[in-house]
């Protein structure tokens, strides 16, 4: 996790310049977060790195609770068919080519520490927050879709049509690109809440727990006492496309 510092720096420098240009005397790194989530008192910092752990052995084939919950939370609904509809999270079924073993898992933005989408984005709309969440700033995304070409997980969707009935917590817009935000609205709300027991999980994790499968954890990878960090320390977790060394914030157990 140490290798994410340099990227943070570039991000900060970039944000610093744009804020300064806009004549805003706001600490670097805060500007875009403020735009997207006006009302929060504190800024996201690199004291946290938010992540998820998914135990595929508990994830049930055929269960779609996480996907349904995400769509509901973020106001994603089908319009012109599966080819162009947005999908922030999807269920994937894997069958081993040699053994025939079948398993199922949810796949979404992996919130890489070194995200290729951020590297390639010409305007800096694709960005990684200090706390590791990868987002798209819908105000400066030009819809070039280069980030979609670059993402190794196909985690992003392009908005192909005019949207209606959006959720206030998840602003979206035709002609821009979007992906899982780890329910950043919830993460930011948690930050204002000192009582940890009142913290809420992203919608998908919440739904998975509610369904009784309990295949997903959400938490702070940098907090050694967090449930997710403890579990990772005990049983480990695998990155998808680990060969690319992107240091993903989402990890998996049990892919065999």
């Amino acid at each position: 996790m140490s290798d994410d510092t340099s990227l943070n720096l570039t991000r900060r420098q970039f944000l610093g310049t744009s804020s300064a240009l806009a004549g805003l005397a706001i600490a670097p790194g805060v500007f875009l977060t403020k735009v997207a989530h006006a009302g929060d008192t504190e800024a996201a910092t690199d004291k946290n790195r938010w992540g998820m752990l998914i135990d595929t052995s508990k994830c049930a084939t055929g269960c779609n609770e996480c996907v349904t919950a995400c769509n509901k939370e973020n106001g994603i609904s089908g319009t012109h068919g599966p080819a162009t509809d947005a999908q922030w999270i999807r269920k994937v079924t894997l069958t081993d080519k040699q053994t025939g073993y079948v398993q199922s898992l949810p796949l979404m933005c992996q919130h890489c520490a070194n995200p290729p989408c951020v590297d390639v984005c010409p305007t800096g709309a694709s960005m990684k927050r200090a706390d590791g969440i990868v987002l798209v700033d819908k105000h400066i995304c030009i819809g070039c879709r280069y980030c979609m070409m670059a993402c190794p997980y196909k985690a992003r969707s392009f908005i192909h049509e005019v949207l209606e009935e959006q959720k206030a917590v998840a602003p979206r817009g035709k002609g821009t690109v979007e992906s899982c935000t780890m329910c950043v609205q919830r993460v930011d709300a948690n930050r204002g809440e000192a009582d940890k027991s009142k913290h809420v999980d992203p919608a998908c994790v919440e739904a998975c727990n509610a369904s009784g499968h309990k295949a997903m954890w959400f938490g702070d990878l940098k907090d050694p006492d967090s449930e997710i960090a403890t579990e990772l320390k005990k049983h480990g977790g695998q990155q998808l496309r680990a060969d690319l060394q992107l240091n993903t914030g989402v990890r998996y157990q049990g892919i065999t």
């Binding site: 305007t123 800096g124 030009i142 190794p152 196909k154 192909h160 002609g175 690319l244």
Partner: protein, 408 residues
């Protein structure tokens, strides 16, 4: 050999205006397609969340790559000092700018938020090859414009060599940048290869020259100006070399991929096909046969040394170039991402399957409009500016021709 004399086209014939009107219609149709796509959203095209860059990108990248190649004639004359090409250097510079303008117009009009193009010009993420390209494209216009000016303005002629040199370096960088848009995509099997950049450069030579040849032959034929066999022979030989070099790079690219076990999937997808997709056919028939082998025969076959064969070879090279872009851009995206090696994958988001795509009418219209913009600019500019040499007859262009006559 005398100093070339440049003369505007008269451009008052019905044919000239008809040509402008036809090109104008293509541009108007493209704009209509753009408004439609922009108003409805991209779902009205056949691009989707899997094939995010469609037919407009095929045309756009082709034109941008060809733009760099179109500057070749100017480079060969200024940088490498080949006198015979000198009269055509201004046309080469003009065509380069026009092609780039056409390509960029498509790219911008296909953006999800084209009205934000200003953001792309003001906010730069310097790690992005795209952002770099933005600078390279703008710089190309500026440098080639200065170069053209130096060539056309007698007082500044002496600087044209320096300007030409800069333009030469710049355009090599530009095509490296364009190739790297794909070359730096680590996630995709078809891309992620350093060879894509030099391969794009060599292909640009062939594509740019092919378009250049057609314009030269058409302009001199229609205006009844002299175009001697010496110049035609040079253009023909040059085209032959570039086609052969491009083929060589394609072979090396695929051989390298074939050596890497991990890439066998994508290679067999492109080279052998699945039986259902067209990429294998577009590759073998479009890119290799139509765009490579046949034009090579046309260029070198001793019995076919006529103007028509040069034009036909050039047209085929262009078709081959579009095929190559189709295979590279769309074929590369159609092949599924390999996220889970050793697994068969299914999902609601087209994981593990070859992604379906076929061009839609608005996409093709937008692409053709880019081509029309480029030609329109050239046709218009050669009427108002002194770009075209009055004659390209052997006695006017070929230094050896004069030498022979004088010694005789």
């Amino acid at each position: 050999m005398q100093k070339p004399r440049y003369l505007e086209l008269e451009g008052r014939s019905a044919g000239y205006y008809l040509l402008l009107v036809i090109l104008g219609c293509f541009i108007a149709a493209g704009l209509a397609a753009f408004i439609y796509m922009e108003h409805e959203g991209h779902w009205v095209t056949r691009m989707n969340n899997q094939i995010v860059w469609g037919t407009p990108h095929v045309f756009a990248v082709f034109l941008i790559v060809a733009a760099s190649g179109a500057l070749n004639i100017a480079s060969i004359s200024s940088v490498f000092g080949r006198a015979i090409y000198k009269p055509l250097a201004p046309l080469s510079a003009l065509l380069a700018m026009a092609l780039l303008a056409g390509g960029l117009a498509i790219l911008v009009l296909d953006l999800g938020r084209p009205e934000r193009v200003v953001i792309a010009m003001t906010k730069y993420n310097f790690k992005s090859i795209f952002a770099w390209n933005m600078i390279l494209y703008n710089g190309f216009f500026a440098i080639v414009l200065v170069y053209l000016w130096m060539m056309m303005e007698r007082r500044f002629n002496k600087y044209s060599k320096v300007a030409g040199f800069f333009a030469f370096i710049w355009r090599l960088t530009l095509t490296t940048g364009t190739g790297s848009i794909f070359g730096f995509l680590v996630a995709r099997e078809a891309y992620d290869a350093a060879i894509l950049a030099p391969m794009f450069i060599v292909m640009s030579f062939a594509y740019g020259l092919a378009i250049f040849n057609i314009i030269v032959v058409a302009a001199y034929g229609w205006t009844q100006r002299d175009l001697g066999p010496a110049m035609l022979m040079k253009l023909r030989r040059l085209l032959g070399i570039f086609i052969a070099a491009a083929l060589y790079f394609v072979v090396v690219y695929h051989l390298t991929n074939l050596y890497i076990t991990q890439r066998h999937g994508i290679e067999s997808f492109i080279l052998l096909g699945t039986g259902e997709d067209i990429y294998m056919k577009v590759f073998w028939i479009g890119q290799i046969l139509v765009g490579g082998v046949i034009p090579l025969l046309l260029v070198y076959a001793p019995r076919l040394q006529c103007r028509a064969s040069l034009v036909l070879a050039s047209v085929l090279v262009i078709l081959g170039g579009l095929s190559q872009m189709y295979v590279t851009i769309i074929g590369g995206q159609a092949y599924p991402l390999e996220i889970f090696p050793g697994k068969t994958v299914t999902s609601s988001f087209s994981d593990g399957i070859i992604n379906a795509y076929s061009p839609s009418l608005p996409e093709v219209m937008l692409g053709l409009a880019g081509v029309a913009i480029a030609f329109f600019l050239v046709v218009f500019a050669i009427k108002v500016l002194r770009i075209l040499p009055q004659s390209l007859a052997d006695r006017d262009v070929d230094p050896h021709y004069i030498a022979e006559k004088q010694t005789a």
